[in-house]
Each structure stands twice: as structure tokens, then as C-alpha cells.
């Protein structure tokens, strides 16, 4: 749920990066963090285990500039990808404005991708969302590795609705900003449809 603040002329939106464990959600945020000028970003917070696995979430606030006199801020979150952190994933989806699904292109992770996508749909439905109606993009990560599934196969399994999709290598940053830009754009287009009151105040 976006937050329009007429008093400070700001608009805040929440983007969640979803996907199976070790698919590169945190790496996406880290790359965005590294490549954003200091005045446009806040601190990146990672609630992770000692082995650098996401425990609760990563958080990165980004200020993108002004639209029609309103400062636009995007709050980027990742979920913990490991299957047993499902309770935490549900919490992070609360109030989401747009979702990025980061798929791990490696053949052996195909089932994990499908499972995570199903989990995303179920968890969104529990919150009253429908993935088909939410700003949503898919990123096929790790395209640089040798053992990847074909794009056709990934597409048919993970993106039957043909939402915007990007091939990526999050460690080098390829496709990272394209993905972010696409989901941000979809969110702003969604806002464009809304009214000033936007539905409910509090």
C-alpha cells in the first residue's frame, strides 16, 4: 500500500523481491545500493544469519526524484528464501505495492523456482492480493552460469501471463536496474489510476 503524504509532498511505495533461497535477491539490493549516489539512498539493512543468509529481510530505501512536485521514495525489501521461513515471508508481503520474482536459472533449481512462485501466490492471496493484478516483474538471474535452463522453459513455467521479464546476472549488475525500473514504472502507473483519497486514510 503506497503512502501519499500531502504534508511533506512525498510518496512512498514498497517493492518486495521474492524467490527461492540463494537466487540472488539480496545481491540485487546490494548492487542497487552500490550503484546509487549517497544522496538518493538510505542505509541498507540486512537481518541475516552469521552465514549471510537472510533471516528476516533486507531493506533499502531509495529516493528517485520528483514527479509532479512529489518526492518518490521506494522501499525495497527482500524475503528470506529458505522454505522454512514462510511465516516471515508472509509478514514482509504486507502492504506490498509491487513484486519482483527473482528466479534462479540453474537447471537444478527449476523445482525450487516453481515452489517459490506457488508460495508467493498463496501468501499474497492470504493478504487479499491477486498476483495477476499486482505490479509484477520476473527476473531470470544467473544467466552467466553454464548449466542454465532455456529461456523458453523458464518463461513457460514462471511467466505464463507475460509480465515484463529480464535476464540478469546480479553479481555483475546486468539486468538489475532494468528490473527495478520496470516494477517501479508499473507501480506508478497503478497510482495514476487511483484517486486523491486512494481508498482509505488509515
Amino acid at each position: 500500500m503506497s503512502f501519499i503524504n500531502y504534508a511533506s509532498r512525498e510518496i512512498n511505495c514498497k517493492i518486495v523481491y521474492y524467490g527461492p533461497g540463494l537466487c540472488g535477491k539480496t545481491t540485487n539490493l546490494q548492487f542497487v545500493y552500490q550503484k546509487t549516489s549517497p544522496d538518493a539512498k538510505g542505509k541498507m539493512i540486512s537481518l541475516a544469519t552469521e552465514t549471510e543468509r537472510t533471516l528476516f529481510f533486507d531493506f533499502l530505501p531509495l529516493a528517485l526524484g520528483e514527479i509532479r512536485g512529489f518526492k518518490t521514495r521506494f522501499h525495497l525489501y527482500t524475503v528470506p528464501g529458505q522454505v522454512f521461513y514462510d511465516a516471515s515471508r508472509k509478514l514482509i508481503l504486507k502492504g506490498v505495492d509491487g513484486v519482483v520474482f527473482v528466479a534462479d536459472s540453474q537447471e537444478e533449481r527449476l523445482d525450487a523456482n516453481i515452489e517459490s512462485m506457488e508460495n508467493l501466490k498463496v501468501n499474497l492471496e492470504e493478504q487479499g492480493y491477486n498476483l495477476d493484478k499486482l505490479p509484477f516483474v520476473v527476473q531470470y538471474n544467473k544467466r552467466d552460469l553454464p548449466n542454465v535452463s532455456s529461456m523458453e522453459e523458464l518463461r513457460s513455467l514462471l511467466n505464463p501471463n507475460n509480465v515484463p521479464e529480464y535476464e540478469a546476472c546480479a553479481t555483475t549488475g546486468e539486468g538489475v536496474f532494468e528490473t527495478l525500473k520496470a516494477v517501479a514504472k508499473l507501480i506508478l502507473m497503478e497510482l495514476k489510476k487511483g484517486t486523491a483519497g486512494g481508498g482509505s486514510g488509515a
Binding site: 503524504n5 511533506s8 514527479i67 487479499g128 486523491a196 483519497g197 486514510g201 488509515a202
Partner: protein, 165 residues
């Protein structure tokens, strides 16, 4: 509920002024250092007090995560939610509570105050906040009903592309 789910949370000048008045009063009466209000999704609504040295954006996000996690715990044991959280530090303490069902009130205080005093003053202020947020919800619902166009109704693809240039 539709996928757009766009029950956007809105804040207007008038309500923000009222909220800040309540916060400043609470800050004084509770002898607190900082007070801020956060939407349950982690977005900072407003803050008063000694905020210069604080990363309020991160604080807001973590507070909401904290409330969400304890809310999850509450449900597991059959409670609706835990409406008050308290974290005690060596010097500073954090008192977190939910006001008006949707908004998180955070009070940071040190030895100049006490948990008892903060709890008492928070309880009183909660009613005032609750009323303001209720009025705010009504106002936003009315604007929505009247079909007042969103300030973003006129944005173009170029506006959006410019954000990333």
C-alpha cells in the same frame, strides 16, 4: 479484494499538524527524547524531538518489522496482537505501541523518564491519536468517493522515465 489493493494511506497538512501537536505534548509530558509514528508497513509518518542523529527511515522499517514479528508470535499463541513492546537499553529505551489499530507509536526515552510515566502518557495520547487517524480515514474515504483525481493522474511515461535518467 482486488489485486490493486490500492487502499493508499494518505496524510494531509491539517491532520499532520494535529498529530505533531499531540506528539509534542507527549514528548514534554513523558520527558521523552524522540517520538515517531510509523505506518504498519514501515513508512515513517512523522517524528518529533532529537531526531538529527537518528536514521528515522531505518528505525521505521525495523519497528514495523518488529511489530509484524511479534504480531505473528501473538497469533501463534492465540492472542490478537501484543499492543505494547518495550526494549530496555543501558541508556536509552524504546516503548512501542499500536494506536488506532493501524499506526505504530514509538517513544525513545532515557533515565530522565521512566517506563511507568511513558506508559501513562502514551495511554492518554493514544486516544487523541486514535481520533485524528479516524478523522483522517473518513476524509480520505470522502475524497475517494468524490472522485478527487490523484495528483498522479496526469503523469506521463516521460515523467517516469525521467526518474531513472
Amino acid at each position: 479484494m482486488s489485486g490493486s489493493h490500492s487502499s493508499t494511506f494518505v496524510m494531509y497538512d491539517e491532520e499532520l499538524r494535529k498529530i505533531n501537536l499531540v506528539s509534542e505534548k507527549l514528548l514534554r509530558e513523558a520527558n521523552a527524547k524522540v517520538i515517531f509514528l510509523v505506518d504498519k508497513n514501515g513508512q515513517l509518518i512523522t517524528s518529533v524531538g532529537e531526531t538529527e542523529h537518528l536514521d528515522t527511515t531505518s528505525l521505521a522499517s525495523l519497528t514495523a518489522g518488529n511489530i509484524a514479528a511479534t504480531g505473528g508470535l501473538a497469533k501463534l499463541i492465540g492472542e490478537k496482537e501484543f499492543s505494547i513492546l518495550f526494549h530496555e537499553g543501558e541508556k536509552d529505551n524504546i516503548h512501542i505501541s499500536i494506536v488506532g489499530g493501524r499506526v505504530i507509536l514509538v517513544v525513545i526515552f532515557d533515565q530522565r523518564s521512566s517506563l511507568g510515566l511513558v506508559r501513562l502518557r502514551v495511554k492518554k495520547a493514544s486516544d487523541d491519536y486514535g481520533q485524528i487517524f479516524e478523522d483522517l480515514a473518513k476524509k480520505a474515504a470522502q475524497e475517494d468517493k468524490d472522485g478527487t483525481p490523484s495528483p498522479f493522474a496526469e503523469i506521463t511515461d516521460d515523467d517516469i522515465d525521467n526518474l531513472f535518467s
